[in-house]
Amino acid sequence: MISNNKIEELEAVARKLRIHIIQMTCAAASGHPGGSLSAADLVAVLYFHKMKHKPNDPGWEDRDRFVMSKGHAAPVVYAALAEAGYFPVKYLTTLRRIGSSLQGHVDMLALPGIEMSTGSLGQGLSAANGMALASKMDKKSYRVYCITGDGECQEGQIWEAAMTSSYHKLDNLTVFVDHNKYQIDGKIEEVKSLAPFADKWKAFGFNVISCNGHDIKSIIEAMDKAEKVKGKPSVVIADTIKGKGVSFMEAKPLDFHGKAATPEEEKQALSELCKIKDIEL
């Protein structure tokens, strides 16, 4: 059982990640806040509770691997890496600047801690499969985690990869779908519906788990359940809200898929996200 203290601690981390997401995308005056905010709780639990990793030794052989398949959610990954100690937090504001390691979409050669470069949607799950296969071939115990977007699941390669995950019984792989229900052109169900979404994953041989993607306890329980299932891969469909934590982004998620807040909006966003206990930020 996870303690309430741990849950509160992770909630605070997620809040910090959200603050960084707003600040760094505003500093860059571009980027993808909506889909970064929706994944913040998942990423907080992964980096600060679930994954075995060593920020001072990013190449540690036995580390768990994390692939952000929706590469445009780079800000949330950078925020987590910085908070975990991979690099100084103040470097976050170099996001998208020329010469920065914080590329618009994650780049594994630019930044230690990034396991796979992504950006062209649909590719991350195949790479995650390769890592999970390597883990098994080498008789290692590391797990592989992969976050995909829901809109991303319109890519055919996701389903090619899903067949690979289940055919090779990759029970050391947990896939998360950041199911925030929006894509650039509109609501997913109005652009090209994924329904029946859970059934699709089931049909492709996955153990399907649902969770509230903004409830730390629910996320942890889902991850724990996924790990216990042997002989097949698991997918956690995380019910999330695009722009989570910032009222005006939640209200107009399409306006903040690939656009940063204005300086005025930034103030409002930060005032909503900052609680007294985070005052040291």
């Binding site: 390769g130 296969l133 071939m137 390669q157 067949m163 090779h168």
Partner: protein, 324 residues
């Protein structure tokens, strides 16, 4: 090969480069447990089936899913494996181009994309299966090394080198058996270094793949007409051997390129880029003239699409005239 006098080891010996690939992989797999091989439902044709049989634990048939194969290869390579991923050239280059670009080349991962059935000699399967554009689209990707071996002996050497070389590579092999003109004992090859297969002073023929043999034949015919041809095998199209190309341009003053590929963007394009910027000289490209192929036997297609010794002879004469 009907001519003697250049580096012909055997007049009758023919080898399919894909066959050599499969056998070489098996040998490499013996000493190097880190090699993993992937295929996309074509292992019987690409000959990775030989590796699959020898080392079933290190072979994955990814099914009819080239994009997923390339992505999986990237993941395996990210965990330290040396990955050979094979399919037909059209699919390895075209179908999975974006996956090669983002998951393999952008990441500079150790994935060797070794494709077979390159070019028009794929034959009866027709235009959809004839990769005549693959060299162009692969060499446009940063971090890629692109190689087209000339024969079976060179293929073995290149595959062995590839296993030692870190980084993404595209190696293009052929379907039919082609003449062997290199000597396994004597001839050594280095990635990125062209081979002067025959010396000459009037015109240089830069060739790759099965056109190297035809260039050597053309040189023999032209020698009778008092045109001295140098034949240079540019097996590595990227990074191209700029130094050798410029040297040949200076020494011979005219160039012909010969490749089993479109004249757009392949060896001809790569050589032209080097020449125009460094040592402009008259040049003619022999290759497929920006068109799709069709079904037919490989030898018939080579003739119909202008990939012959005679075409090279005509091109050399034309360029030789312009030189004067």
């Amino acid at each position: 090969m009907q001519d003697k006098g250049h580096r012909i080891v055997s007049e009758i010996k023919k080898l399919a480069t894909r066959e050599v690939y499969g056998k070489t992989l098996v040998e490499l797999g013996k000493d190097n447990p880190n090699i993993v091989v992937l295929d996309a439902d074509l292992s019987a044709s690409t000959k990775t089936a030989l590796f699959a049989k020898a080392y079933p634990d290190r072979f994955f048939d990814m099914g009819v899913a080239e994009q997923d194969m390339i992505g999986t290869a990237a993941g395996l390579a990210a965990c330290g494996k040396t990955v050979f991923a094979s399919t037909f050239a059209v699919f390895g280059s075209g179908r999975a181009w974006d996956q090669v670009r983002v998951s393999v080349a952008y990441t500079r991962l150790n994935v060797k994309i070794v494709v077979t059935h390159g070019g028009i000699t794929t034959g009866e399967d027709g235009a959809s299966h004839q990769a005549n554009e693959d060299i162009a689209i692969m060499r446009a990707i940063p971090n890629m090394t692109v190689i087209v071996p000339a024969d079976g002996v060179q293929t073995e050497a290149i595959i062995r080198e590839a296993a030692k070389f870190y980084g993404p590579m595209y190696i293009r092999l052929s379907r039919p058996k082609t003449p062997v003109h290199y000597d396994k004992e004597k001839d050594k090859f280095k990635i990125g270094k062209g081979v002067v297969a025959k010396d000459g002073k009037d015109v240089t023929i830069f060739a790759c793949g099965l056109m190297v043999a035809k260039a050597l034949d053309a040189a023999k015919i032209l020698a009778k007409e008092k045109v001295s041809c140098r034949v240079v095998d540019i097996h590595t199209i990227k990074p191209i051997d700029k130094e050798l190309i410029v040297k040949c341009a200076k020494e011979t003053g005219a160039a012909v390129t010969a490749e089993e590929h479109s004249i757009v963007g392949g060896l001809g394009g790569a050589v032209a880029e080097v020449l125009v910027e460094n040592q402009p000289i008259p040049m003619v490209r022999v290759g497929i003239k920006d068109m799709f192929g069709e079904s037919g036997q490989p030898d018939e297609l080579l003739v119909k699409y202008g990939l012959t010794t005679e075409e090279i002879v005509i091109a050399v004469k034309a360029v030789f005239k312009r030189k004067k």
